[in-house]
C-alpha cells in the first residue's frame, strides 16, 4: 500500500506538468483578448490596445509564454490579471472563503439528502416512497440551476419577501446577526445547488445499495438476527459507498471551483463568478491559475478516492 502510494505520488508532478502544458496551450490558442470594451469606444486609439497586448506579452510565441509562466510559478508568482491588474492570488484569496462556504454547504446538503433517501429507497424498491423519491430526483436534475434559481427568487424574494437575493460577502453586522444574515442569504443558493446535486446522487446511492442489498451476505446478516438498522448501516451502506466515494471525490474540486451559474444568479462573489468573467474577458492568467489549482485538486481527490476504496473494501489490492 505505501509503495503504491509512493509510486502514485511520484507521478503526480509530471502529470501536473503535462496538464499545465495542455491547459496553457488551449488558453493561449483560444481567440480573443481582454480589451473588448476598449474596442467600441472611439476615443481610445487602437494603438492603446495593441500596446497593451504587447506589454502583457500576448503576441509572443506560446512556448515562450509558457516558460515565463512556469518560471514565475516555480517562484510562487501567480501572475496578475490583465483586466484588473491585481495579483491573481489576491483575487483568488478574496473569493475562496465564500465559495468554500456556499458550495461546501451545498455538497453536504446533497449528501445528507442522497444517502438516507437513496438507501431507504433501495431497501423498498418500487414502494410508494421509492417512486416519490425517484420522481423528485428526476425533476431535480432535469431542471437547470438557472431555472430553479429564478423560481426560488420569484417565490421567496419577490412574492413572499422572506429572503434577500443579492449575496453579500461583507455583512457589517456583528454577533448572531452576522450569522443570521449569512444563513439567510445562503439558503437559496445552497438549496438550489444542493438539491440539484443531491438528486443525481440519490439515484447513484439507490442503485449502488440495490446492487448489494440482495447479496447473500446481507441475507446472512439478517438471518443472524441483526437488527434491520444495523444490517443496512454496517453491511449495505459501506459496500454501497464505493461509487459514492468516487462521485464525491469527483465533485470535491468543484467546491473550490465554484458554481458558475448559481454564483452568477445570486451575485455570489466566489471563484466560479471570477472564472466565468475571466473566461468571457479572456483574462488568461486568472483562468490559468484557477484551472491549475482545480487540476491539482482533481488529482488529489482522485488519489484520495483510490486510497479510500482500499479502506471500504479491504480486498482491493494495490499493486
Amino acid at each position: 500500500m505505501s509503495r503504491y502510494l509512493l509510486r502514485r505520488l511520484a507521478i503526480v508532478i509530471p502529470s501536473l506538468l503535462g496538464i499545465s502544458i495542455v491547459l496553457f496551450t488551449v488558453l493561449a490558442l483560444a481567440p480573443g483578448d481582454p480589451f473588448e470594451e476598449l474596442a467600441t469606444n472611439p476615443n481610445i486609439p487602437q494603438e492603446v490596445r495593441a500596446g497593451l497586448r504587447e506589454k502583457f506579452g500576448l503576441d509572443d510565441p506560446i512556448a515562450l509564454r509558457y516558460l515565463r509562466w512556469f518560471m514565475a510559478m516555480v517562484h510562487g508568482d501567480w501572475g496578475f490579471s490583465f483586466v484588473s491588474r491585481v495579483d491573481v492570488d489576491v483575487l483568488i484569496r478574496q473569493r475562496l472563503s465564500t465559495t468554500l462556504f456556499v458550495v461546501g454547504s451545498s455538497q453536504i446538503l446533497a449528501l445528507l439528502v442522497a444517502l438516507p433517501v437513496g438507501v431507504f429507497a433501495a431497501t423498498r424498491p418500487y414502494s410508494i416512497f421509492d417512486q416519490i423519491a425517484n420522481t423528485l430526483a428526476f425533476i431535480g436534475f432535469s431542471l437547470p440551476t438557472f431555472f430553479t434559481g429564478i423560481l426560488f427568487i420569484l417565490l421567496f424574494s419577490i412574492y413572499l419577501d422572506w429572503l434577500p437575493f443579492v449575496y453579500r460577502a461583507d455583512i457589517s453586522a456583528t454577533g448572531w446577526h452576522w450569522y443570521w444574515a449569512h444563513i439567510k442569504q445562503a439558503l437559496m443558493p445552497v438549496a438550489v445547488l444542493g438539491l440539484f446535486q443531491g438528486a443525481s446522487w440519490t439515484r447513484y446511492v439507490r442503485s449502488a445499495a440495490l446492487d448489494v442489498i440482495r447479496l447473500d451476505y446481507v441475507t446472512t446478516a439478517r438471518a443472524k438476527g441483526l437488527a434491520e438498522g444495523t444490517v443496512v448501516v454496517k453491511h449495505v451502506v459501506r459496500n454501497a459507498l464505493i461509487p459514492v466515494v468516487t462521485l464525491v471525490a469527483l465533485q470535491m474540486p468543484a467546491v473550490f471551483g465554484g458554481a458558475i451559474v448559481t454564483e452568477q444568479i445570486f451575485r455570489i462573489p466566489g471563484i466560479g463568478s471570477l472564472l466565468i468573467t475571466s473566461i468571457l474577458a479572456n483574462d488568461t492568467p486568472v483562468i490559468m491559475a484557477v484551472t491549475f489549482v482545480f487540476a491539482c485538486l482533481v488529482i488529489l481527490f482522485n488519489l484520495l478516492a483510490d486510497i479510500l476504496y482500499g479502506w471500504l473494501d479491504p480486498r482491493i489490492a494495490y499493486r
Partner: protein, 596 residues
C-alpha cells in the same frame, strides 16, 4: 441642414421660441453630440440654462447607505486603467475631474473654479490653448492640498506609454504647463475647437501626485493606491474587492457644503440586468441599478409596483448595421475585404437601398429595446416634430422588391434573386447577445420576403471585439457581408466618432486591422469635410460640416442606423439623481439624495 439653417435655429433659442433642450435633442438626432450642441449655444452667447436638478438636503450626512447595483462589477479603481465604463464608475465615487458633462451637454465644474470661456480669458481665441483654474482649498482624502502639480502629473502619467494608460488618447497630443500653484494651461498642436477633453468627464479624473509619483511608467501596476484610491470626491474609500463590491463613506471635508447626503455608499457587482432591475424596482432592496438591459415588457410590469422605475437618459450610442464596401470572399495579397476589391453584391446601390428598407426599425424599437432603443435613420428631415416617424428611413418590403426588380435582380425558382449569375446571398454577423439575435431574425425574415437569402452568424463578444491579428472573426476584419454592433458615442465631441468613414482610417492588413473605417467606404467629399471640421473653430460651421458628413454616409447606405441606445438605469422612486448620457452614471453622485 446647412449652416444657415443652424444659425436660424440658434436664433430661435436666443429669442426663446425654441427651448435649449429641444435644440440639443434636435442636434443629437442629426448625429451630433449634446456637448457640441451646447457649445454652439455658448458660442452664440445664449445664456446657460439653469440645471433642473435641485439639491434639497440642508446638512451633510444622515442619509444611511446608498446601495447601487452594477451587473458588471468594477475590476479596478484607477481611472487611467479603466477598461470599461464599470471601472470608470467605480473610480468616479472617489475621484473627480475638473469638470463633468450634464444631461444637456453643459460642463459642470468639479475641481475647476469655473468653466473656461473666451470671456473669462480661459479660452484662447486662436484655439491653441485652454487655461484651467483649480478651486481653492480642495484637499485629497488624506489631507494633502490639490494643486496644479497634480494636474501636471496626471498628464505625464497618462501620456507615458510605459504606464499603459487607456486614457492616453486624451493626453498624448497636448502639452500641459503650470501657470501658478492653482492654474495650468493645456496647449494644443493645432487650433482645437473641442478643448474640453483632457481633465474632463469620464477620462478626466485626477489622481494624486504624492501617492502615484513613485509608480509612473512601467511600475504603474504596483501602486497600492490602484486598489485603495485617495481622491477628492464626496465619498472616501472603505473597501474594494475586484468584480464584487466597492464601498465608500462620507467625506467630512468635501469641498461643497451639505454634501454628500449619504453616510456610506456601496456599489455591488455581478449578476444579470433583470434581477438587478428586480432588486431596485420590485423589492426596493437597492436604490439604483446601472445599465439595465431588460425587455420593456418585463420592465413595465415591474414598474407597476411603484417602488421604482426605469430612468432613460438620451445619449449617442448607436446600434447600426455596416455594409461591406469590399469583397470579403476573395483574398487579395493575404487579406479578405481588401480595399482593392469591390463587393460583388453590395456595390450595387439598389441592393444597399433595398436593405435599408428591409430593417424594421419600428419593431426593433417597440419589441426588443423598448424605451432603451429609439428607431432612427440618423437623419430627420422634419424639424417640426422631433422623432417623427415621417423621415427618410422606412420599412417597406414592397418597395424594396420594386427597387431590386428595377435594379435587374430577378427571382430564381427558389425565390432568391440573382443578377448576372450572382445570387443575392449575404452573411450577416454580430456579437452574441439576445437582443441582437432577435434583431437579426427580424431582418432575415424581411429579407427573405424580398428575395434576399441571409445567413446569420453570431460571434462571442470577447472574440468579435478582440484585437488579435490572427483571428478572422473580429469586427475590424469584417470578413462577411454585413455586420451589426453598437458604437458608443457618449464622447462629448463627434470628431473621433466621424473618423470612421475617412479613407485614411480604412482597416487593412497594413495597419494590422487597427483602422477605424470598418466599412471601407470612401468619399472624397467626406474626407475634405472632415479635414475642414478638424480645425474649424466656429462651432456652428463645424456642426454643419458634421451634419453634411453624416448625410453623405447615410444617403449612400454605407451603414444602416438601427436604433439609438439611450442609457437605461433602474432607480428607486425615492432617490433623486441626475443621470447624464454624456458622462458616467455616478458623475454627480455628490448630489444624490433620498426622500426620508
Amino acid at each position: 441642414m446647412n449652416e444657415h439653417q443652424l444659425r436660424g435655429l440658434i436664433a430661435k433659442v436666443k429669442t426663446g421660441k425654441l427651448s435649449r433642450r429641444a435644440f440639443v435633442h434636435r442636434m443629437v438626432a442629426l448625429g451630433l453630440t449634446a456637448p457640441l450642441a451646447s457649445q454652439m449655444l455658448d458660442f452664440a452667447g445664449v445664456a446657460k440654462a439653469q440645471s433642473t436638478f435641485e439639491y434639497k438636503p440642508t446638512k451633510r450626512g444622515g442619509g444611511g447607505t446608498l446601495k447601487t447595483l452594477f451587473w458588471q462589477g468594477a475590476t479596478l479603481l484607477n481611472p487611467h486603467f479603466a477598461v470599461g465604463t464599470k471601472d470608470q464608475e467605480g473610480s468616479r465615487i472617489f475621484y473627480e475631474p475638473l469638470a463633468g458633462w450634464d444631461a444637456d451637454g453643459n460642463l459642470v465644474p468639479f475641481l475647476a473654479a469655473e468653466i473656461p470661456s473666451v470671456e473669462n480669458g480661459g479660452l484662447a481665441r486662436d484655439g491653441l490653448s485652454v487655461t484651467w483654474r483649480l478651486k481653492k482649498d480642495v484637499k485629497w482624502h488624506d489631507g494633502h492640498p490639490v494643486t496644479a502639480d497634480d494636474l501636471l502629473f496626471n498628464w505625464e502619467y497618462a501620456s507615458d506609454p510605459e504606464t499603459a494608460a487607456v486614457t492616453v488618447g486624451s493626453y498624448k497630443d497636448v502639452k500641459v504647463e503650470k501657470v501658478d500653484a492653482l492654474t495650468v494651461r493645456v496647449r494644443f498642436e493645432r487650433p482645437t475647437p473641442f478643448w474640453a477633453d483632457a481633465f474632463v468627464g469620464t477620462r478626466g479624473m485626477i489622481i494624486p501626485k504624492h501617492l502615484f509619483e513613485p509608480f509612473k511608467g512601467a511600475k504603474s501596476r504596483e501602486a497600492p493606491t490602484n486598489l485603495k484610491p485617495v481622491g477628492t470626491g464626496a465619498y472616501k474609500f472603505v473597501a474594494f474587492s475586484p468584480g464584487d463590491v466597492v464601498k465608500g463613506e462620507l467625506n467630512p471635508d468635501y469641498h461643497l457644503p451639505n454634501r454628500p447626503y449619504f453616510d456610506t455608499i456601496e456599489m455591488k457587482g455581478g449578476g444579470d440586468s433583470v434581477s438587478a432591475a428586480r432588486a431596485v424596482i420590485q423589492t426596493g432592496e437597492y436604490d439604483y441599478a446601472w445599465n439595465v438591459q431588460v425587455e420593456d415588457e418585463i420592465l413595465k410590469r415591474m414598474e407597476q409596483g411603484g417602488k421604482g422605475r426605469a430612468e432613460i437618459v438620451p445619449g449617442g450610442n448607436i446600434e447600426h448595421i455596416q455594409l461591406n464596401s469590399t469583397d470579403p470572399w476573395t483574398e487579395v495579397d493575404g487579406e479578405r475585404s481588401s480595399i482593392k476589391t469591390k463587393h460583388p453584391l453590395l456595390a450595387d446601390p439598389a441592393v444597399r437601398q433595398a436593405l435599408g428598407m428591409l430593417v424594421d426599425r419600428a419593431s426593433v424599437e417597440q419589441h426588443i429595446y423598448g424605451r432603451a432603443g429609439v428607431a432612427t435613420g440618423n437623419f430627420l428631415n422634419n424639424p417640426e416634430r422631433f422623432r417623427s416617424k415621417n423621415t427618410k428611413w422606412e420599412f417597406n418590403i414592397d418597395k424594396a422588391n420594386q427597387v431590386l426588380e428595377a435594379g435587374g435582380w430577378k427571382r430564381g425558382p427558389d425565390g432568391i434573386r440573382s443578377k448576372d449569375g450572382k445570387k443575392l446571398k449575404l452573411v450577416y454577423q454580430t456579437s452574441t447577445n439576445a437582443p441582437r439575435q432577435k434583431n437579426q431574425a427580424i431582418v432575415k425574415q424581411a429579407c427573405q420576403k424580398a428575395g434576399i437569402d441571409v445567413e446569420l452568424k453570431s460571434v462571442t463578444a470577447s472574440v468579435f471585439f478582440s484585437s488579435d491579428v490572427g483571428n478572422p472573426d473580429t469586427y475590424t476584419k469584417f470578413y462577411c457581408d454585413i455586420q451589426m454592433y453598437t458604437t458608443t458615442m457618449t464622447e462629448p465631441d463627434p470628431v473621433k466618432f466621424m473618423d470612421q468613414f475617412t479613407s485614411w482610417e480604412i482597416s487593412s492588413k497594413d495597419n494590422k486591422w487597427q483602422g477605424r473605417n470598418i466599412t471601407r467606404w470612401r468619399s472624397e467629399e467626406y474626407d475634405s469635410a472632415y479635414r475642414k471640421a478638424e480645425g474649424e473653430l466656429d462651432p456652428v460651421k463645424r456642426a454643419a460640416l458634421f451634419i453634411r458628413m453624416n448625410e453623405l454616409v447615410c444617403n449612400d447606405h454605407a451603414v444602416i442606423p438601427v436604433v439609438y441606445r439611450p442609457k437605461q438605469g433602474a432607480i428607486s422612486s425615492k432617490l433623486h439623481a441626475s443621470i447624464s448620457g454624456w458622462d458616467n452614471d455616478l458623475w454627480n453622485v455628490r448630489d444624490w439624495y433620498r426622500d426620508a
